[in-house]
């Protein structure tokens, strides 16, 4: 996790169960809340996949004015990361997903 934190240049990175329980983490952030929020949001975002017949949700990111949140979905678990808001979050999202596989 520490090496991933450095590689992604984010504030925090964590692995969590599908239910949102933090399993392992690095960095400084409210990890417990982050994992729980990602879990709840992912459940609803998956519905969009059903709506569009788009299959499984693989990765996603959400950027606000202050923060960027990255999630890589895995079978029964997920990797989450939180960093500063950036214009191009794509690269970090991809890197996190690669690390998650």
């Amino acid at each position: 996790m520490d090496s991933l934190l450095k590689e992604l240049k984010v504030q925090a990175v964590a692995s969590s169960s599908d239910a949102g329980e933090a399993l392992e983490s690095a960095g400084s952030f409210d990890i417990e809340t982050l994992c729980a929020v990602a879990s709840v949001a992912a459940g609803q975002l998956r519905d969009i996949g059903d709506l569009l017949s788009a299959g499984r949700l693989e990765r996603w990111y959400f950027v606000t004015e202050q923060q960027a949140y990255y999630v890589s979905e895995r079978s029964g678990s997920r990797l989450v990361a939180a960093g500063d808001a950036v214009k191009n979050a794509e690269a970090t999202s991809k890197a996190l997903h690669r690390a998650g596989r």
């Binding site: 929020v37 975002l45 788009a54 299959g55 959400f62 004015e65």
Partner: protein
């Protein structure tokens, strides 16, 4: 292999009860494939039924047929898809005759189903297309083209089960591997027809050696057309007539033959059955996904179904050109958007606060593998959308609703506004950007290039942001962007009237030329862009000369339907010049005037200079509130 088919003679060494290579015992003849007979057999060690296909005795010693038979076995075995018949074994029986042992399938092929049913429902057809695309997609990924996709080669297993059928693709007997080191492993002779005529692609009909996976996709689209309409799209009384139809004629729109179909289906067929392989769907997955969306959503209204050209028409690019901003907009003090005052002035009726909105969306919509884009308002309703694939506005609204629900949870982490969201699914990509309280959403296939799409969407969002700032707010800039108010509602629209008076001597804008290039590139490709570049060497045409410019360009298009479509779309980019008082250059900003709702009457354009001497009709006293006119990014108050 299928458990039905006409009986046929078999070679003496192959008969009921014969044991093949010590592995199978033949039970009975099932039918004949393209190069041999197919038998029901019992696998002696596994104790299961299998289908064994033998190469015909007459072909046994012909090298090219032996290699093609081996290729069929290799192709099916390599693909290893639940939607391709499974190969269990490949070898030669005692007399040297090659065989392929395959799983034994029970059910019926699509051809027989069509014989019984005439036509199939969109749901069943979608399942057929979806399963076939999964099998073909796997084959194509391995560089294998089937080259004989037809209803008889699409077998439905369990067609009568409650859980629905599973489609399996049969007969890779004429399949082709992608060329390796210049050698065609299938040994096809140039000019030789391969495939079943009614389902052939134009390149197959030409006997071209350059037949690749896109040919399979064309054939599958023909099957889909047959399923939905009950007839094949290209017919004729002779083989020659049929082939001519395939290479040169457009099919009757499917919705004309089956009226209940969504209109999006016609667009899908137009792309899937394009004569030019490069303009067809880029992959089996794209084709299936687009088909699912085309038949799954019934686009019933003009605003539900927006194609590139119809949106361009709705945008009604103004005299200023395609990159029109809020300039050509009249907004009253209450922020209501100008709408058409009378049918007579329909040309400018669709000028809304931001004609740049549809154009911003269109740029993203034309990124490869994008299915559609929409601008959704704070109330969750799309105010504009653009989908070449016919994705309805309601799909975007549904997605946005779920996004909002899901992102509510982030409030426990922070309270700042969302700026971007990206969702990468197995078979789709959804990207979202927020512009003030509005949401821009793009839906694409999983093959969309994430960076290209992201950059393109950022640019569009930035453009929309600029439009919103110029208009004094997104609510003003974006409202009623899909400006398709019917005439009878016009009188109820409060606000102002709009007149756009292009200066006849003014050159058309760069954006108009850019859009014109896009339109001409549709029928002519790169040649179209080149033709425009050559004609612009002496400068851009003026507004007055523009119709003639379009006419000369349209003369380059051979196909009359394409010529008319181009001409119509191109002419709509610039409103026709109408007689009216000349507009002094410095005062063009007020080349239109707002009219109070009570009058709802178009008046001649006035300028600040001539307004006192040529007054507009007197407004109703109650409507004397200040009128705000936006022109070229500036707000101008018209003092009545």
């Amino acid at each position: 292999m299928p458990a039905n088919g006409p009986p046929s003679d078999s070679a003496p060494s192959i008969f009921p009860g014969a044991t093949i290579s010590g592995r199978f015992r033949l039970v009975r003849l099932l039918g004949r494939g393209s190069m041999g007979s197919v038998w029901l057999a019992r696998h002696l060690t596994l104790d299961v039924d299998v289908a064994v296909k033998f190469i015909d005795a007459a072909l046994r010693d012909q090298k090219d047929h032996r290699s093609r038979f081996a290729l069929e076995a290799q192709a099916a075995a390599r693909i290893n898809s639940p939607h391709v018949v499974n190969v269990l074994d490949f070898g030669a029986e005692a007399s040297g005759r090659l065989y392929i042992a395959m799983e034994y399938l029970q059910g019926e092929d699509v051809g027989k189903l069509l014989e019984r049913s005439g036509r199939l429902s969109p749901a069943i057809t979608a399942r057929i297309v979806s399963h076939a695309c999964r099998g073909l997609g796997r084959a194509h990924a391995l560089g294998i083209s089937h080259r004989d996709v037809k209803p008889e080669n699409l077998f439905l297993v369990g067609a009568n089960d409650d859980e629905g059928f599973v489609l399996k693709i049969l007969d890779f007997g004429v399949a082709k591997f992608a060329q390796k080191k210049g050698k065609d492993l299938a040994g096809t002779v140039v000019g030789q027809l391969v495939g079943s005529p009614a389902y052939m692609s134009p390149e197959q009909a030409h006997g071209s050696p350059d037949v690749d996976f896109r040919s399979d996709l064309f054939s599958l689209a023909v099957v889909a057309y047959h399923c939905l309409t009950g007839v094949v799209p290209f017919g004729g009384n002779s083989l020659a007539e049929l082939l001519i139809g395939i290479v040169s004629k457009e099919p009757v729109p499917a919705t004309r033959l089956t009226p209940g179909l969504p209109r999006a289906v016609d667009d899908w067929f137009q792309r899937a059955l394009d004569k030019n392989p490069a303009r067809r769907f880029a992959s089996a997955k794209d084709l299936a996904q687009a088909f699912h969306m085309a038949v799954g959503q019934h686009a019933s209204s003009a605003t539900d179904y927006t194609s590139s050209s119809s949106l361009a028409r709705a945008a009604r690019v103004t005299s200023g050109g395609g990159a029109a901003t809020v300039s050509d907009t009249v907004v009253n003090s209450s922020g209501a958007i100008a709408q058409k005052p009378s049918a007579q002035h329909a040309d400018v009726s669709n000028q809304t606060a931001a004609t740049g909105v549809p154009l911003a969306l269109a740029q993203v919509a034309e990124v490869a593998n994008v299915l559609g884009i929409a601008l959704v308002g704070p109330d969750g309703e799309p105010v504009a959308h653009h989908s070449l694939m016919g994705l309805p506005a309601s799909s975007f609204a549904d997605v946005i609703q779920r996004v909002r629900e899901s992102l509510d949870t982030f409030e426990s982490l922070e309270s700042t506004r969302g700026q971007a969201l990206a969702l990468y699914f197995e078979h789709a990509t959804v990207l979202i950007r927020w512009v003030e309280s509005y949401t821009v959403i793009v839906i694409g296939t999983e093959q969309v290039h994430p960076t290209v799409l992201s950059v393109s969407l950022n640019a569009a969002a930035s453009k929309l942001q600029t439009l919103a700032k110029q208009a004094g707010g997104a609510a003003i800039a974006f409202r009623s962007t899909i400006s398709s108010l019917p005439d009878h509602e016009v009188s109820e629209v409060s606000g102002t009237a709009l007149i756009v008076r292009p200066s006849p001597s003014e050159p058309v804008s760069d954006a108009t030329i850019a859009r014109l290039s896009q339109l001409l590139a549709k029928p002519l490709g790169a040649v179209g862009r080149l033709a425009i570049q050559q004609r612009l060497k002496n400068g851009k045409p003026t507004v007055q000369a523009y119709p003639d410019f379009v006419k000369r360009l349209s003369a380059l298009i051979e196909d009359s339907a394409e010529r008319e479509a181009f001409s119509g779309d191109a002419l709509r980019l610039v409103p026709p010049v109408e007689p009216g008082p000349p507009i002094p250059p410095p005062a063009r900003a007020a080349a239109f005037v707002s009219v109070p709702p009570a009058t709802q009457k178009l008046v001649p354009p006035v300028t600040p200079q001539n307004a006192p001497t040529a007054p507009a009709p007197a407004p109703e006293p109650a409507a004397k509130a200040k009128q705000l006119v936006m022109y070229r990014g500036r707000k101008i108050e018209v003092d009545e």
